[in-house]
Amino acid sequence: MKQKFNIITSTCVPLPLENVDTDQIIPARFLKATTREEKFFGDNLFRDWRYNADGTLNESFVLNNPTYSGCILVAGKNFGSGSSREHAAWAIAGYGFRVVISSFFADIHKNNELNNFVLPVVVSETFLSELFDTIAKDPKMEVEVDLPRQMVTNKATGRSEHFDINGYKKHCLMQGLDDIDFLVQNKDKTEAWEQANK
């Protein structure tokens, strides 16, 4: 779960669909687990796209295509819309993705990724569409995600873009710290707020 983030260079798995909702990332019937076993959720990532109704592999789906691999998922805009289920982020992390690149993320899902040490990288539409094109031409091309410099680079074309992340969260990701550690340390401030707002 908690892991330190620095520079990641990897081939990509392309998912050029828009509005990929969390019901597709992990269907509701897999939300009945009472533990956070990433392998279970990873195994069921995009379950109904990965498998046909009869349980056989859907060979046309990108995760089943051996041409594509890597720990960077590249998706169309509005990735992660819908339900707040963190299971979607667990599934993405459990499958082995460390970075998701898209031109737009749904709010709750974006936070859920960050809280699970998966880095959502927001890029421009131009960068994204060029990236899809380059992956299609050469599935072995790599992308570099440099968190310290907040730069994402398409290594096939050399195009780089700066991405946003607040200083606090960047520090947490690079140090492998989470928000609960911070909040528990700041209980005195919470008690002071309660006193002032009785």
Binding site: E86, F104, D107, I108, N186, T190
Partner: protein, 458 residues
């Protein structure tokens, strides 16, 4: 600046982290069985107790069967999740409304009806439809499980302050047009990401005229435009609804509370990051045709001839064609319920339309009250008899076919007209095809067996 959202948010700021999020104080945390077990596990692993257990309320709703709730849940995995919530609530000293308790129901129905969700509060739950409570004049939003754990541990959450948007709806709603249709209209106008990054204040004459139930429906669907939350400034309608409820302030405390609640409105000089205005005259009963809630049309309109990336994939899934009109399309299932439309007014609307008519023979109808309190009121008002005479039975409360975590699954390929909130692929069961609509439109489909404009039956 000086919006109601700013007022409530700013009042709850514990600290602003430099180049980081805000530490925001949370008045209420609601927990259901699906998004809480891993948070409780995390608390145990860290050796923590809940910081303010009296501000946390738990109830199972997603897995609960809608029949024979007095018997053990048949699905062992569902049973384990429901039992785990009860155990965790007991271990951490939290209020728990178990299945079959008269207090149980869908968390977003129960919160307002017990007077737990009060104007000016900050409310969170591991559920995107937490925005529902915004109808009470609260800042309420859905969070992930790690964030649930944050609130358990500290009664606070770290969040970036969203931008503010005001959506004003002018005019008067036509006959047969409901809050659900307004929301479906807004989603089609804004798309499912049009309000991402924003908190929405709903305003204008249409919103002002809505009942509390209608307001809860409207705010419930804020997330379907991408908004983190949506709310309505509290007014007399809100105060009348709250008065006398179990957790509502009483006596002197009530007068003091109302005096404060009356100050909860955006200033005349309020500046929103975005303002949108719509006219009720443009809104007719609405239905969806695709596989996201933004893919909707007026019930008499035809499916658009083009859409964005995924449009064709979506129509293929739904087995519809671009340019097609859906009126007259055969319907297999009708679902009335969910945190969107499982309240008493929704049952009144449904019953008013089916009264004196009969359920179409080949339609399966599931009518699921949002809570036991709604169920009780249905019976007190005699709606159960009206519904029974028309061939409908009332099931037991829960989220049910909205997301089909219990046995209420729409079979693959079947077409469902549903009052729930999402028509995503497989949402109501693998392969299920969902059309979102109001309780009136659902009732019209249930008695005719086909997609029908409810205005022709009123």
């Amino acid at each position: 600046m000086n919006t109601l959202f700013d007022k409530i948010w700013d009042q709850h700021v514990v600290q602003q982290i430099p180049d980081g999020p805000t530490q925001l104080y949370i008045d209420r945390l609601y927990c259901h069985e699906v998004t809480s077990p891993q948070a409780f596990d995390g608390m145990r692993a860290r050796g923590l107790k809940c910081f303010r257990p009296q501000q946390i309320f738990c109830m199972p709703d997603h897995n609960t069967p809608t029949h024979d709730q007095d018997k053990p849940i048949e699905d062992p995995v569902s049973k384990k999740q429901v039992d785990t919530l009860a155990k965790n609530a007991a271990e951490f000293g939290l209020t728990h409304y178990g299945m079959m308790s008269k207090d149980n129901g869908i968390i977003h129905v129960v919160g307002p009806e017990k007077g737990l969700s009060l104007p000016g509060m900050t409310i969170v739950c591991g559920d995107s439809h937490t925005s529902t409570h915004g109808a009470m004049g609260t800042v309420a939003f859905g969070i992930g499980t790690s964030e649930v754990e944050m609130v358990m541990a500290s009664q606070c959450i770290l969040q970036q302050k969203p931008k503010s948007m005001r959506i004003t709806i002018n005019g008067t709603l036509g006959k047969g047009v409901t809050a659900k249709d307004v929301a479906l209209y807004l989603m089609a106008q804004l798309t499912t990401s049009g309000a991402t990054g924003y908190f929405v204040e709903y305003a204008g004459p249409v919103v002002k005229a809505l009942s509390m139930e209608g307001r809860l429906t409207l705010c419930n669907l804020s997330i379907e435009m991408g908004a983190r939350g949506g709310f309505i400034a509290p007014d007399e309608t809100t105060f009348d609804y709250i008065k006398g409820r179990e957790y509502a302030p009483k006596g002197e405390a009530w007068d003091k509370a109302v005096a404060y609640w009356k100050t909860l409105k955006s200033g005349d000089d309020a500046v929103f990051d975005k303002e949108l205005c719509f006219d009720a005259a443009d809104i007719e009963p609405r239905i969806t045709y695709g596989s996201n809630p933004g893919m909707g049309i007026g019930i008499t309109e035809t499916i658009p001839t083009e859409g964005g990336v995924g449009f064709e994939k979506s129509l293929n899934y739904m087995q519809f064609k671009s340019g097609q009109q859906l009126l007259g399309t055969k319907v297999d299932y009708v679902f009335l319920g969910a945190c969107t439309n499982g309240r008493i007014e929704d049952f009144r609307a449904f019953a008013s339309l089916v009264k004196g008519r009969h359920k179409a023979d080949d339609v399966v109808a599931w009518l699921v009250p949002g809570s036991w309190a709604v169920d009780k009121q249905i019976r007190e008002e005699g709606l159960d008899k009206v519904l029974a005479e028309a061939g409908f039975e009332i099931r037991q409360p829960g989220c049910s076919a909205c997301l089909a975590m219990n046995d209420d699954k729409i079979p693959a390929g079947k077409l469902s007209v549903s009052t729930s909130n999402r028509n995503f692929e497989g949402r109501q069961g693998p392969g299920a095809r969902t059309i979102l609509a109001s309780p009136l439109t659902a009732a019209a489909a249930a008695v005719t067996g086909v997609i029908t404009d409810p205005r022709t039956l009123l």
